[in-house]
Amino acid sequence: MRIFLYKVVSEPNTFDLAERLRHIYSLAVDARNRDRNLDHVRLEELREERGLMFADFLKIRMHHGPAKAGLDTPVEGFDLDSDEGFGEETALIFDPSSGHVVVQYNHHGSWPTAIAEYIGLFVHSNPVTIDFAPKLDAAVHAKIKRAKIVKKLTLAIAPKALSDEDYDEQASLGGGIREIARRSDAERLEIVISARRSRSSSLNIDLSFLNQWIHRLGGGSEGSPILTARATATDDERTPSEVLDLLEHRLTSEAELTPGLDKRYPRLDRWNALERAFNSWRHLMT
């Protein structure tokens, strides 16, 4: 299970997130649901211990989902009522004193942006803009600066579509149409540059310069044409190379959890893993 650290940014900044969580949890279960696209999101559980708030967010996938299958039994669907769906759980710890949240990554569950929106817009009469800003990892940044031997570089780019921005830049009609004509129909272009397989070979690329360039192009932010940028690199030949994400050096931690008999990660285990990660990052929460 992957865990990320975020700083809570709210507008207005006098907003009390802890109070909002308590308020949501004080309501009946069905009153906590909020629609999100075809699904529903709700705060399932909230506990306050050791000055931290332990929350578990549930996403009910109403549209479609998995089946039940055994090695010697045919695949079959789950028996669901029309108002039932598949539950996906995302654990979160909020530290009111520092204003940080530690969030479990559940690909099918609620993502941090969805949770922030749920909390912010829960009270219709008092909408608040909440943003969970990812904490960056200074250690990865330092590694990128040090890494001189680059073995492999992977870049994924979203080809540009013709837009009104081109119009604003005084592009002519002929130029605009040629732009469309030249474009491939690809949604994603992936470029992989790798060095030969021998131990001594490497690519002649200055990673920290490339990193700056990517960020100048808006890499890592929303709407950027650069979708991924990863380098496999090391700082000297004796140490094995590792994959460095040039787009987001986000602080992340990995926790090994054992699923229960129902194939779910138990809530308490997830909270404990989050709290361990939280404690290891405590010195970074400024």
């Binding site: 579509a161 013709l162 837009s163 009104d164 081109d166 119009y167 005084q170 592009a171 002519s172 009609l173 002929g174 130029g175 605009g176 149409i177 040629r178 469309i180 004509a181 129909d185």
Partner: protein, 141 residues
């Protein structure tokens, strides 16, 4: 090409040609033939452009749909409009020529005629090029 250039070059070229003809002492052909020819050209161009207009509205290709999502589509419609009006004007100007003695057209008539025919041709070429590019992009996808 910059859009300001694309916007103005048919008219800039037409004005230049007209001014050149005025000072160069253009010898405008006498007789009705040139007037009939102007009317025919104007009518053919207007007809062709009106067809293009309905094509622009109905064509359903990825390239066209992408163009439609942006303001470039409005720009194309604008070019089409200018080309249609230029050809209509040329035709109307040819008809108007019959009301004067075709054997002795006044000097300004020839100058305005040059202005109109050059802008008609160039606005026509401008929008036709756009259409041809669109057709080419269609072949690909």
């Amino acid at each position: 090409m910059n859009r300001n250039v694309e916007r103005s070059y048919p008219y800039a070229a037409a004005v230049t040609a007209a001014v050149g003809c005025y000072y160069g002492g253009l010898n405008f052909p006498k007789g009705q033939d040139v007037l009939s020819a102007s009317i025919t050209i104007g009518a053919i161009f207007t007809g062709f452009l009106a067809t293009s207009k309905s094509l622009a509205i109905s064509i359903d290709t990825p390239a066209m749909n992408e163009l439609r999502k942006t303001r470039f589509f409005d720009l194309m419609v604008q070019y089409l409009r200018e080309a249609i009006y230029a050809s209509l004007l040329l035709g109307a100007f040819g008809i108007a020529g019959f009301f004067h003695d075709p054997q002795s057209p006044p000097r300004w008539y020839g100058v305005v005629w040059v202005l109109l025919i050059v802008s008609t041709f160039l606005t026509f070429i401008r929008v036709t090029n756009a259409f041809l590019e669109l057709i080419q992009s269609r072949k690909k996808g």
